[in-house]
Symmetry: C2
């Protein structure tokens, strides 16, 4: 976001995990560090000259150590509660040539799961901006910047500052979403019409989430559940299981992938009727993605399979 950054260089360039709290306080999305949501990372490239003058407080320009805050005060994502912090810079205050901003999807959790385009964008970037958690994991983490992630927020902030996406050269590099990377680990659970729902009520009211679950659970959609469980959201998870069981058999296969692509990755396929009680185990937390089968989904040879319907037309 350094294209709208002219004055508060010291405040904007953050390079250590010590600044996480500050960043979270201002950007406020710390409770949204989900399988996809947090893995989207923004990188910005500028000309060398321009960067030099603005980023001298950065101890290094390498990918791992040079991070500029996505949400620094000059960028302007302040929590409404942080009333003592003044956020005023706009595009009009900016007197250098505009650079470019790229929202990069990092892929499904292994270095080799990143696309070559994403890797190239990171290597070209003068600064890598993102949640410290994910910066630290580079290149070991995952996601698509359009799935519960920051590409939308980036555009909203650019707009709010009076810049335009075209003058800034804003670009989104897609990645493999958590739903698909977890689906691949489980077999072929998402082959047909599918839906993804986040159980986080941080930004969406719980009654809307419930309404969406009611709407889709009675249809043939497979359902990917993001942000399934946190200590503050036990009730959301319980309610979700209850709604699903209103429409689907207790023996409906459910795939659970915890920490996809991380050292503590674990996968299990369980019955829908057993899902709720697993919320209290360490299998299900904010790094978990849950894939709920439809009425045709079955488990075979430890794989979860949702038929596309070929069996109704072809013999094999």
């Amino acid at each position: 976001m350094n294209t709208t950054d002219t004055s508060d260089t010291d405040d904007t360039i953050e390079t250590s995990s010590e600044t996480t709290t500050e960043r979270e306080r201002r950007c406020g999305a710390s409770t949204e560090t989900t399988a996809d949501g947090g893995t989207a990372s923004a990188s910005s490239t500028t000309s060398a000259d321009e960067t030099q003058s603005r980023c001298e407080s950065s101890p290094s320009s390498g990918v791992e150590s040079s991070t500029s805050s996505y949400s620094g005060s000059s960028c302007g994502a302040s929590k409404r509660e942080a009333t003592d912090e003044k956020v005023g810079s706009t595009a009009d205050d900016f007197d250098a040539d505009p650079g470019s901003l790229t929202a990069v999807g990092l892929g499904p959790g292994q270095p080799e799961g990143m696309t070559e385009r994403a890797r190239a964008a990171l290597l070209e970037a003068e600064h890598i901006v993102g949640y410290t958690t994910y910066i630290d994991l580079l290149p070991d983490d995952s996601g698509d910047p359009n799935v519960y992630a920051l590409s939308g927020l980036a555009l909203e902030i650019i707009e709010s500052k009076g810049a335009t996406a075209e003058t800034l050269d804003f670009e989104v590099v897609p990645g493999v979403p958590a739903a698909q990377s977890c689906g691949a680990r489980l077999g072929a659970p998402l082959v047909n019409d599918t839906v993804s729902v986040s159980l986080s009520d941080h930004l969406t009211p719980m009654d809307e989430i419930e309404s969406r679950l009611h709407a889709v659970a009675g249809e043939g959609f497979t359902i990917s559940i993001y942000n399934p469980w946190s200590r503050k959201r036990r009730e959301n998870f319980r309610k979700c299981c209850e709604i699903l069981l209103e429409y689907r058999d207790p023996d409906t296969p459910v795939g659970i992938v915890h920490g996809a692509g991380r050292e503590d990755e674990r996968s299990e396929i369980v019955d829908l009727g057993d899902l709720e009680e697993l919320g209290e185990t360490d299998l299900i937390d904010m790094t978990t993605t849950i894939l709920v089968g439809n009425e045709e989904t079955y488990v075979w040879d430890n794989r979860m399979v949702t038929p596309r319907g070929y069996e109704s037309k072809y013999e094999y």
Copy 2:
């Protein structure tokens, strides 16, 4: 699928586009060559010795020229109408060591949109199996093997032949789905809860598709529409537009991406009220993915943005 292939080598190894019709006749999914559906490619690797003996009819083992049919007679996906064709081989007929089968997602439409893992899997493969259309495009095409694609069919066929996914070493390499690659081209349209629906009634009855559209159109989901239009399915598209307009304003933003990653790629952002008439233009066909915004989606600076809800909590 060559691990279940012991006898019909000549029939199984297909290397030219001349065999497209034959392959389509037997696998029958030719009308499903969609943005994601067809882009999933299966590759199989076997030990060199084993391959040598079984694949001698293959003129080359290179990626571009060595293709073995996903749906050869020994693989067994025969159309029910093709009654004169006998498909009988099972795992019991197979007397060599099993190999491995990997369903590879090729990414969002450019060579650099493929993950490194996908590229490595293709380079390691002794045979690349897939729709000729997509084999010819390698490495220029796209998708995830779990999104209206072949990973499920592969498992179903493996099962039907009496083999197991574990003895075969079946693996799925995820890719970037068309919805996300098209979303990236349009800005940030899919940031919140989202659903994907295929309008193809080849494998799903149209009344189920309509029911799903009704269920989700009244909720806050963004909707990715796959297989939106073909000459035989004008009515499906018309009906879909009609249902969406029952629930959403005519000025709801709709992103249309035709031929993502191909030479004839085109993107447009239109109003929902204007969508139906575009079905009769060459912007919308089976290579097109359509992203329908929710009630909060807006267009800014030629980008489609669906707010995640940060604006309700933070100032920027």
